[in-house]
């Protein structure tokens, strides 16, 4: 992909995400709510609480824009809260409706999860590695409604969308490689 648009959420660590994609030689833009989402890749960066982020999305009429994008045949990357908002409900900052794209809810973890942990990578990404270590920074996790899996979801890849609970932009070479594989997929 050659053009990357990063949704300029006021709570995100936008600088980190911007510099990663700049380093990977993409043409990077910060997107204000009124901007078009016609880039090859749209990124919703991490940081910020679920409720504040969803309130900002709704106040700026971004909900339908984001949903349209994730349902399209163009790439979307959601990082941390950018993944969590895809749930139907989140509980950080009070019970708040999410974008209801995934059958999941975003709930409080037993303890904050800050640090590096190992992640099994989806085969659909066709990486040359089955697991890699990434940096996590979250107090809430995404849980699927089925109840089959007791752990929160670390990574989810479908069609043109990649959702990561961890921060690939802060995960050194693992993160860079993951983005490159998603780029090629």
């Amino acid at each position: 992909m050659s053009t990357v648009g990063i949704i300029n959420s006021p709570y995100s660590n936008i600088g980190s995400v911007y510099s990663l994609f700049s380093d990977l030689s993409h043409s990077v833009s910060l997107l204000n709510p009124s901007d078009d989402f016609d880039h090859d890749l749209i990124v919703f960066p991490g940081n910020g609480t679920f409720s504040k982020t969803m309130n900002w999305i709704r106040e700026n009429s971004l909900d339908s824009k984001i949903l349209h994008r994730v349902q399209s045949n163009k790439k979307f990357l959601g990082i941390c809260v950018g993944m969590q908002i895809m749930s139907h409900t989140g509980y950080e900052g009070g019970k708040t409706p999410g974008l209801n794209y995934l059958d999941t809810e975003t709930k409080l973890l037993d303890k904050p999860h800050i640090g590096w942990s190992s992640v099994s990578l989806p085969r659909s990404l066709d990486c040359n590695m089955s697991t890699a270590d990434f940096f996590f920074m979250h107090c809430y996790g995404v849980y699927d409604d089925s109840g089959i899996h007791t752990d929160y979801i670390s990574i989810y890849h479908e069609n043109y969308n990649l959702f990561c609970q961890f921060h690939p932009e802060k995960s050194g070479f693992s993160g860079i490689n993951l983005i490159k594989y998603f780029d090629k997929s």
């Binding site: 980190s16 911007y18 070479f173 993160g175």
Partner: protein, 252 residues
């Protein structure tokens, strides 16, 4: 989850410095180059702290330059006094903010900040000194010490909403003679599990073993020993690998 080894960079008047017992500051290195090399050497995280009178706009400029070449998490503290300061900070590529004085001067504002950005982004920092079985908290603004109960003070910081607390022992800081391991018993309560970042006194890689073995300590901050001794980050990674579990590192 892996234990973290976190190099720290102290900025004073925009320069990277090191001191001993929070004194005797001397110029240490170029912050941008050092941070870049730490990122290449795959540091788990980098902690940047400004001390003295902080000109925040000029620090934010430096952080912009630093973060451009860093692919590892950065936490920053110093001169942060308002919600707008945090908004500005997050635009620079810093991932977590560290609050020291503000946590004690205005906990209500800290709670408001945390409700905007999330607990995961919020780190508290407390500088302590100990003498004759007593522990004192150092206030960098008033430059005074006040006796505290370390355990209940840190519980209070967790209740405000901070996800981790950097505990720096001034007695050990910059001495490279070992960490204040006797303080670890203050964090025996399970509420502290993986919530403490221990700082002050690391001289050799083996100094990290005792604190990282305690359930409360999720990481240690390393200062002078990475600059003034022959030890490299790789030496510390070797100790983590031998005594705990090291995350996968790429051969660079």
């Amino acid at each position: 989850m892996y234990k973290r080894v976190i190099p720290s960079i102290l900025l004073r008047n925009g320069n990277a410095v090191k001191g001993i017992n929070f004194n005797s500051w001397r110029q240490a290195c170029d912050a941008e180059s050092y941070a870049k090399s730490l990122s290449i050497k795959q540091a788990d995280e980098i902690s940047i702290l400004s001390i003295g009178n902080v000109n925040l706009p000029s620090v934010l400029d430096r952080l912009n330059n630093i973060s451009r070449n860093v692919r590892t998490p950065i936490s920053y503290g110093g001169g942060l006094r308002s919600l707008s300061d945090i908004y500005a900070l997050m635009q620079t590529g810093v991932d977590r903010f560290i609050l020291n004085s503000l946590a004690f001067d205005d906990p209500s504002l800290c709670s408001s900040i945390i409700s905007e950005f999330g607990s995961q982004a919020a780190v508290a920092s407390i500088d302590i000194a100990y003498k004759d079985n007593l522990i004192y908290r150092y206030n960098a603004v008033s430059r005074k010490f006040a006796e505290i109960d370390l355990s209940s003070t840190c519980k209070y910081l967790l209740e405000i909403g901070f996800s981790e607390i950097i505990v720096t022992a001034i007695n050990c800081d910059g001495t490279q003679s070992g960490m204040a391991n006797h303080l670890l018993s203050c964090f025996d309560d399970l509420c502290f599990k993986n919530r403490i970042l221990f700082s002050g006194g690391i001289g050799i890689p083996e100094h990290i073993i005792c604190p990282l073995s305690h359930h409360s300590v999720s990481g240690v901050l390393i200062g002078s020993s990475l600059i003034y001794t022959r030890y490299t980050l790789s030496d510390f990674h070797s100790v983590v690998s031998a005594s705990f579990k090291l995350r996968s590192l790429y051969h660079v």
